[in-house]
Symmetry: C2
Subunit: 335 residues, 2 copies
Amino acid sequence: MILSVDLGARSYDVVIQRGCLSRAGELLNLNRKVLVVTDSGVPAQYAKTVAAQAKEAYTVTFPQGEAGKTVDTWMSLLDALVEHNFTRSDCVVAVGGGVVGDMSGFAAAAYLRGIDFYNIPTTLLSQIDSSVGGKVGVDYKGYKNLVGAFHQPKKVLVDPDVLHTLDLRQVRSGAAEAVKVALTGDKELFELFESGKAMAQIETVIYRALAVKAEVVRQDETEGGLRRVLNFGHTVGHAIETVSNFSLLHGECVALGMLPMVSDEVRVRLLSVLRALELPTQYKGDTEAILEAMSHDKKCAGGEITVVTCPQVGSFEFRKIPFQQLANELREVLK
Amino acid sequence: MILSVDLGARSYDVVIQRGCLSRAGELLNLNRKVLVVTDSGVPAQYAKTVAAQAKEAYTVTFPQGEAGKTVDTWMSLLDALVEHNFTRSDCVVAVGGGVVGDMSGFAAAAYLRGIDFYNIPTTLLSQIDSSVGGKVGVDYKGYKNLVGAFHQPKKVLVDPDVLHTLDLRQVRSGAAEAVKVALTGDKELFELFESGKAMAQIETVIYRALAVKAEVVRQDETEGGLRRVLNFGHTVGHAIETVSNFSLLHGECVALGMLPMVSDEVRVRLLSVLRALELPTQYKGDTEAILEAMSHDKKCAGGEITVVTCPQVGSFEFRKIPFQQLANELREVLK
């Protein structure tokens, strides 16, 4: 399956196909210098497979984890590009999860003011979410993605076969992002999850989730308005992620974060889907700490907070609500 | 005079007007947090004048000079933005020459993936050249502008009155960039220089030079092809700049760099204009070192180099010529 992301001169294709990693040399232009970027959590074989198909490849592997998503690591990628005399005609290929994609994408964005970037996401989360949309960057001074750019990839290769080496908990966490997109933008995809057949049709899930995201990005590339719909479940989710000190996975936090943002009717259906995916539906941690973390959110001002809600499956609303009301709902729903 | 730079959603105006610095609060949206960036070479009064017109201003002043155009200085600007909790709705204003504009523009480009940027260039060179086009960035590992972005300003204020505090040699160096643009793209502007009346009509010179540049940028925002015409005089010029260890000003090097790139007929007229502006027309330094520096140029490959030439006033050609031929012409013309 091929999904076209329509962004005028910056349009690109997402190829979703089992085994496409082995065809990278055919699907991408690797007939030049290629910086392959990966991390220690990704099976080394994947980066090797890509590098072997390039004319002149250099591979950088950095330690796994959000803690390494820093300006320093980003500069080490720039160093590699300088050292090997990369020109504007050369390219960067990310082989890994969201952290690898964000950081190598930002290196490609900034080097010589932008060289070609290809993304080969190897987690379900990054396949469904960060691989499309062009948001790249690094954390800074304790803030996520504080420094970065909008730099669209030239092409994205999504190979569902790589998910076989992924921890099951990671796969379920990624599925939570697909549920998120389905709830606000694709009723049929949500029904596929309800049927219990979604995970057996993972290519369809990836394609449909990306199609919704691509349409949102097409309408609002640089996050002026509509694109904020993608934050559904993330206002609370990010706060839980911070408070849990990353002991919960991103998708698990998003699963929890969606629950206070849906109507009662939708919540019944959502709970059923999350349970079937063995995603968390209750949070036993410190709810007050979550509220405290949320009060620093950039969407929180003057005692009110702007959130995305889902009144019925396949739709969404932007709502500005008093922070206290959200606090009450949160205590009620996550208990 | 107002020049509109037409770049679709990224369009903006350049206001060219005596005294407009004092009207920044009226011409720009400063009713928010404003980071005013300047350097020690710019009269402090200019940044103060701008800051006084802002709702909430913070001023960063870094040491003058290309040597400070580093990732470290750029990060110190990011630090200021973080420290004062700048949001996506706030902005950065550059008050200074090209180095200030390039670096603060890149801070605005990267912070939260891009916030508003205004440029108030205070040298003739930056008024005519770098203030329009959106090329921002910093030097890295000895390479000029190796790390950066294309980030268009929201508005540019060009106040010719600030040139009164500028060293005359700096003004002439800036004029060389206008001559460059005139030679390849505006016959009438070149004739204005030939008439000897150009410097007395500096607003017209700035407007016309920027108009040519704006049209080139409109057609080729991210330097895919045509925009390289702006490199006219710069292939040799940059090499002289490096070899002279920046003892010659940028515009002086461009003046020298144009001479080997024009037809004999044009050269006669160009020499006359450069002499009237008291710009250099001969280079007594090490010509071989210049050739050596040029051989590392990214436009030099396989013994050939791509240059922009001016066969007659108001026109240009891209030419790929053997490096040896260029070397011979250079020795001949600059002696």
